[in-house]
Each structure stands twice: as C-alpha cells, then as structure tokens.
C-alpha cells in the first residue's frame, strides 16, 4: 500500500529563532490509519504537523533537512494549494479556521479556491453537510454557532475538499468533551472509509477510545516512541501524559510521588460567594436562571459543563462582570452591589483563560505593578508583593524576570504570570477560568499546584472542561447545563451520579469509573496516582484484578 504521508529523517530549524524544533523524525501514514501524535508542550508536534500540511517551509521560514512526501510526491516544489487537495487541516481553534459568514459559504470556501464549477460545489456542500449532520445549519450565520457546531462546520469545510488525509490539531483543547468527541467520531469514520488521520493531542486517554493504529510520542523535538498503543502505554511517562486509569494501576510502581496541595481547614460559616435566586446574564440576555448557591471561604470548587452553559457567567458575577437581573449576589454576607469592581479585586483574583488578554506592559515588573498601583499601594509595597508572587508562581528563577517583556515568556510561564498578576492584589479567593485548556499534564499539574498552594489564598474556584482535573483538585463540583445548576456534589458523589454522564456535555473517564467502583466514601478523592497505588496494592494482597477499566 502506498503511504499517503512519508516523513523521512526530517529536521526543522526555524530561521526566525534559530531553534531546532524537530530532529531526525520519521513518520509513515497509510490509508485506513489513525496516528496519534503526543508529547509535552514544545516537543515538536505542531512543527511536524506544519511539515506535513506544507506550512513549512511556505509560511514559516525554516531550514528543513530530510524528505517529506505527500501522496507519493515530495512536497518540495509543490504549492500549499496542491498539497491541500491531499492533506486537510483542522486547527485547534475552529473560530480562527472558519472564514465564511454563513455555513454554506464557509463550506464552499475550499472548492471555490480550487476553481471548481458551481454545480459541483453545490453538490459537494449538500453531500458533506449531510455526512456530518449539519444540513440544518447551512443558512445560519457562523458568528451565531456554538463551539461544537463551529467545529463540525470547520470539519465539513475540510472534508469538502476531499482530502486523503486529515490532520487534527488538539481537538479536545477548546471544547467540552461531548462536542470534541463528536468530531473524533467523524474523524474515525473518515479513516474507516479509507482515509487517514493524524491527530495531535495531549489528552491521550480520550483518543485511545478511537483505536489509533500507531502512536508517535515526542520530547524535545525527538521521537521517543513510535509504534502500537500497547507499547506506548508501557513506556509513556505517567507524569507527562494523561494515561487511562487502568494503565496507572498496572504501572503503579513507577508512578511519581505527588504532594497534595495544602488545604485550609473549614471553620467560618459566612459564604464567600452566595447566590440567592439569581438570574445572571448580559443586558437583556439571561444566561443562568434561579441560581441558589453558597461557596465557602475555604473551599475548592470546580465548575463543569458544556460550552455556553453559563460556567463563566456564574463566576464572573463574583467580580461584577455580570449582574443579577433577579435575586441577589452576596460577597462575605453583604450585597455585591455595595462593592466596586476594584475593591472586589482584593477578595477575588480572577484569572482569564487567555493570558494575552491581560499582558500589555513593557516589562513583567510594570505588569505586576499595574493592579496594586490602582489600589493605591506605595512603590515599596508593590516591589515587595511582586517578589512574593513571582516566588509563589516559581517565576523568580527566570533570569532578569522583572525586566523581561511579558510576551517573551513561554505560554506556560505567561499563564503563571497571570496568576501572579491576580495574586499581586492579595485576593483571598482565586477564580481560574479554564486554567489548563490545551496544556500538557505536567504543565497542568504545575500550574494548578501553584494556584492552590498560594499562601494568601484561602479558596480556589475554577472552571474547566477537564473532568479528571475537577475530580483530582476540587472538594466540590458544580455542574451547569442549559442555563441552570444541575448538580452540586463532592467528586465521589458526582462520580456515582450515573445519569449525569450521558448529558451536560460531560464524558465519563476511566478515573470517574474507578472512583465509582472503588471509593466508598463521599468526600474528596485522592490524586489518581495515589488511588492507583492503593488499588494496585489491594490487588496484590487480594490476588484479584482491581482495575477501574481496561483501555479499549
């Protein structure tokens, strides 16, 4: 069988930075194969993807050695336009990929560029829209689509060009699990019908459900493993890759020790944030209705739910970025309306998902000083607090950090800096909006660890799509769906609520099943590594299998 993609001993060095992003990498993808490419952030996954779809060297200036063949022909000397008829690319964020104002014009975009006759374009649009189940959306404006709908429209826009291979960049990064997995089911179907797919993703466990033919695991631009899933599960570093819980149990002896973040003992009774029959929204648009909740001053609360369900709206009310049109919101027992946004900054430190939305100063020092200066603090106080928060977020080790332009930091460091910006205003509660979206396990663990361990912070409330993150780090989980709070329970209780996992944009993971099957108490749960060790020891002592699940 002719390989659709062949990468032979390829190395890539970006000319702009001089950095070698890929070294001596090989990859062969044939029809009917689904290849999973994984590895920590900065390992070269995106560079490999750009090499395959032709963006390197056509859009990125880079020195490439080795050979890349697409559909049996070298990419050198071919145009991106030519390669695009063989390789279709799904970007991580469909909002940047979708360029048409309506769904119909979006799907037509590729065939129009190829200069196909109108009749053929119309025929293809109908065919592909029926295939991915979006016929009812054809006349809708793309600006009004949900995240899940947008992703399916973007995929239709790729399929309509009839590629032989699709490359999918982090399909789970931006959307709720249910929406992302709908896309993955379509990718699998494409492969089953004779196509090929290369999927780049950190969250390995979810992709394993779709039975990849091979896994390419990379670190520092080099291939560390290439082969079938079984071998990968035996070698993958558990601290870097999110593996199925059954694999953690099987490899319990190798799992790294984890230090649970310190937890403040509960004691005070006045809720930090309380909603009394609150309707929350923006202007005349109500997003959440009839919210009755009390979040404690020393709690760790995770908010789960599908895209657009109202998770962010719920917690934005804490800093008055949204207001209650009915009912009321109270902070430390007093109506929030009596407070100003600035005074709330010393109660709640709100960290937005995209660090780029906060960073504007020439140096990290100036960036850190912006909030405290607005609070009227003295330069000495600001300098002292800046040093403290850089230490708390482990950024103090970076050379000349205070004089560095914030945007020259790596993405992970920028995220930690945004936590530092919030901490610099000495909040008692930290609110994190999608703290780990699109980040690898090690970065996630580091980031959430720093946030939870911050000395002055009594409580942390965080919004996430990552069910396992919520189970691992929260003491209480709130699920929001279709404008209402549909569940409010401890992680263990939530894992046992079976009806919940088929709706609310959630996806049951192997950790959920393990908690349900093996933890009897209803409180918070141990770190997955500790739970895996515990179950492994129990299995050895009982000589009976004690795994939560087995990988498919």
């Amino acid at each position: 069988m002719t390989a659709l993609i062949e990468v032979r001993d390829a190395s890539v060095r970006y000319l702009s930075t001089g950095q070698t992003a890929l070294s001596s990498t090989a990859l062969t993808v044939a029809a009917g194969e689904l290849t999973l490419v994984c590895g920590p952030s900065g390992c070269g996954k995106s560079t490999l993807l750009r090499l395959v779809n032709g963006l390197i060297p056509y859009s990125y200036r880079a020195a490439v050695t080795g050979e890349v063949l697409v559909d049996g022909r070298p990419v050198a000397g071919r145009t991106i336009r030519d390669i695009s008829t063989v390789v279709g690319t799904m970007l991580q964020d469909p909002r940047k990929q979708v360029v048409g104002t309506t769904v119909r014009s979006e799907i037509a975009f590729g065939p129009e560029n190829l200069g196909l006759p109108r009749a053929e374009i119309r025929r293809r649009i109908i065919e592909v829209a029926e295939r991915v189940g979006i016929s009812h959306l054809l006349e809708r404006a793309t600006a009004g689509l949900s995240g899940g709908e947008l992703q399916m429209v973007a995929f239709a826009g790729v399929l309509v060009m009839r590629p032989k291979v699709v490359v999918v960049d982090e399909p789970l990064a931006n959307l709720d699990p249910a929406a992302s997995l709908r896309l993955m089911r379509e990718v699998r179907r494409f492969v089953d019908e004779g196509g090929a797919a290369v999927v780049v993703e950190h969250r390995v466990e979810e992709i394993l459900e779709f039975q990849p033919s091979q896994v390419l695991y990379m670190e520092d631009g080099r291939t560390r493993y290439q082969g079938p899933v079984d071998g990968f599960l035996r070698m993958a570093p558990a601290g870097h890759v999110k593996l199925p819980f059954a694999t953690l149990v099987a490899r319990a002896g190798e799992l790294p020790e984890v230090t649970p973040p310190p937890h403040h003992a509960a004691g005070e009774s006045t809720p930090r944030l309380e909603y009394r029959g609150a309707d929350l929204g923006y202007g005349a648009r109500t997003v959440l209705s009839g919210v009755d909740l009390a979040l404690g001053p020393r709690e760790r609360v995770a908010v789960l739910g599908p895209n657009g369900a109202g998770k962010s709206t719920l917690l934005r009310a804490a800093v008055m970025l949204t207001a209650a049109s009915r009912g009321e919101v109270l902070v430390d027992g007093a109506p929030i309306a009596e407070r100003s946004i600035l005074s709330l900054a010393t109660t709640f430190g709100y960290v937005f998902q995209n660090p780029g939305q906060a960073l504007f100063s020439a140096t990290v020092g100036q960036e850190l000083a912006f909030g405290p200066r607005n609070l009227g603090w003295s330069p000495e106080e600001i300098a002292r607090e800046s040093e403290n928060v850089l230490r708390a977020t482990l950024l103090d080790g970076e050379k000349d950090i205070m004089d560095r332009p914030p945007r020259t930091l790596s993405y992970g460091q920028q995220r930690r800096l945004t936590v530092a910006l919030a901490l610099a205003m000495r909040p008692r509660t930290l609110i994190l909006d999608e703290p780990t979206a699109g980040q690898d396990l090690r970065t996630t663990t580091e980031f959430i660890g720093h946030a939870l361990a911050a000395e002055s912070v009594e409580s942390v409330y965080f919004i996430t799509h990552d069910v396992d993150l919520a189970l691992t780090y929260a003491g209480r989980i709130i699920v929001v769906d279709q404008g209402r709070v549909v569940a409010d329970a401890s992680p263990a209780e939530l894992a046992r609520t079976e009806g919940l996992w088929s709706g609310a944009g959630l996806q049951e993971t192997s950790l959920v099943r393990a908690v349900r099957d093996h933890l009897a108490d209803a409180g918070s749960i141990p770190h997955p590594f500790d739970l895996a060790r515990r179950l492994s020891q129990l299995a050895r002592s009982n000589q009976t299998p004690q795994e939560g699940t087995t990988p498919s």
Partner: protein
C-alpha cells in the same frame, strides 16, 4: 452592543437586487449631488433617494438609533459649518440679515439658511441611499459583489473577512476590558487627549497583539484551503435583471442631468426664495 452585520431589509425589493446595484447607486448619487448648492435641485434628487430608501424596506425600529446618530451628527456639522461660521454666501439677491448669532456674531440671511438646508438634505439623502449597503446586502454577498466590480480576489475576500471577524474582535475587546477592569482599569476622564490615548494602552495593546496573532492563524487556515490561486469560483452567481438595469439607468440619468446642470451653471448658486 451587537456588531453582527444586520440584514434588516431581507425580502424587500432592494434586497432582491444584484448587490452591485446597491453598491453603485450611492456612488452615482454622490456624483449627482456633489457641489450642488441650489436647494431645489437637491430636493429633486431627494425624491429619488426617498423612493429608493422606501424600496429598501428597512424597519424603522431597527435603524432608529442609527438615524438618531446620523441626524444629530449632520445637524451639528451643518450648524457649525454653514450657520455659525457662515462660510458660503455665493448668492446675489436677498441678503437681508434676519438675525445675528450672539457669540459668533454671524449674520444669518435667507442665503445662509437655504445653503444650510441644501447641505443638510444632501447629507441625509446620501445616508438614505447608503443605508441599503449596510442593511440590504446579505453579508455573504459583499465579497463577490466587490470582486465582480473589479476588485482583486484578495481584497474582495478581505471585505467578507471583515464582516466575519467583526463580532469576534468586538467580543475580544470586551473580554480584554473585563480582564483589565478587575485590575483597576478605568476609562480616563482626563481632558488631555494624549493622556486619554495613553490610558487606553491596557486595552489597545492586548487587543491589537491578539488580533495579529489570530490573523496569522486565519491566514494559515486560508492557505491550507487553497486560497490565493489565480482562478477562483464565486459560488454566488450575480446577474443584473431588468429591474436592476432600470434602477441603475435611472440613477445614471439623474447623475448625468445634475452634472450637466452644474456645468451649465444652473445649480452652483444658492437659491434664495
């Protein structure tokens, strides 16, 4: 504020027209009314503009705020330029001073008022023929309309992209303002324009940098779908029908007549009753 393009005139006579008609009519109308000082001639053109606007079927409720802004802005402009400063007095005839503006001491004559009315009518009617461009062309038709008018494929699709990304850029702006507000950012109340501009930095810098980063991804996504080739099919077919031709011919005739009248010196002077 919703910045999503509003297709308010959907289903009306004008929205059924070839979008190129809606783009060409304002140009022809501008040619017709430019430089006309005679109120009677402007009012004659205004009849055509009013009929055209009526055919657009734009619901009043949908554009009430736009008209309020337009009329306020135009009134201020006309009052300042034509009445307070009395810039144009190109007329003979009746120059009797009706009254004097107290502070500026501008003498108001029939000539001044007639000229101000002509300018005001010109601006308002230009808005009448311009509104259908915003509210009667389906957003997905704009790119192809410009392309068929001779604009390059890239520029024409750029128009489409502007409308596509306007709502998300607006959302990004609001998200950035929110992110900075919780750090104590407030709009500057200073009267010094330089200080006001500098105070915008916490919002302008992140929005601009993020837009540039996002634009790079979008350009890559477009390249990966074959954009930029010499030949491109526009799925939307455009063809002038009889009504389109009649409308264009009508406005061409108005433009030609007004240009001719101007050259003959019939409309250059301010009409004084």
């Amino acid at each position: 504020m919703d910045v999503t393009p509003r297709y308010l005139g959907a289903g009306s006579f004008l929205s059924r027209r070839d979008p190129r008609v809606l783009l060409l009519v304002p140009v022809l109308y501008l040619v017709a009314v430019a430089g006309i000082a005679d109120l009677r001639a402007v009012l004659l053109c205004a009849v055509a503009a009013l009929l055209y606007y009526r055919a657009a079927g734009i619901p009043w409720r949908g554009v009430r705020a736009n008209w309020a802004f337009m009329l306020t802005f135009t009134t201020i402009l006309v009052v300042v330029n034509s009445i307070l400063t009395s810039t144009d007095t190109r007329a003979g005839g009746n120059s009797e001073v009706l009254f004097t503006i107290p502070v500026t001491h501008s003498a108001i004559t029939w000539t001044t008022l007639s000229y101000a009315a002509a300018v005001f009518t010109r601006y308002v009617t230009l808005a009448m023929v311009g509104f259908p461009v915003a509210f009667n062309i389906a957003p997905s038709d704009l790119g192809v309309a410009f392309a068929r008018l001779g604009l390059s494929q890239r520029l024409a699709y750029g128009v489409d992209l502007t409308f596509r990304f306007l709502p998300s850029t607006w959302a990004s702006l609001h998200e950035t303002i929110d992110a900075q507000r919780i750090r104590g950012y407030e709009h500057s109340r200073s009267r010094n324009p330089v200080k006001r501009l500098i105070a915008l930095k916490p919002v302008v810098v992140p929005v601009t940098v993020n837009a540039l980063i996002d634009a790079e991804d979008t350009v890559n996504a477009m390249d990966l779908r074959g954009f930029g080739g010499r030949h491109r099919t526009w799925m939307r077919e455009l063809a002038f029908d009889r009504a389109d031709v009649l409308i264009l011919a009508g406005f061409c005739a108005v433009a030609a007549a007004m240009v001719a009248a101007r050259f003959l010196g019939l409309t250059g002077a301010v009409w004084v009753p």
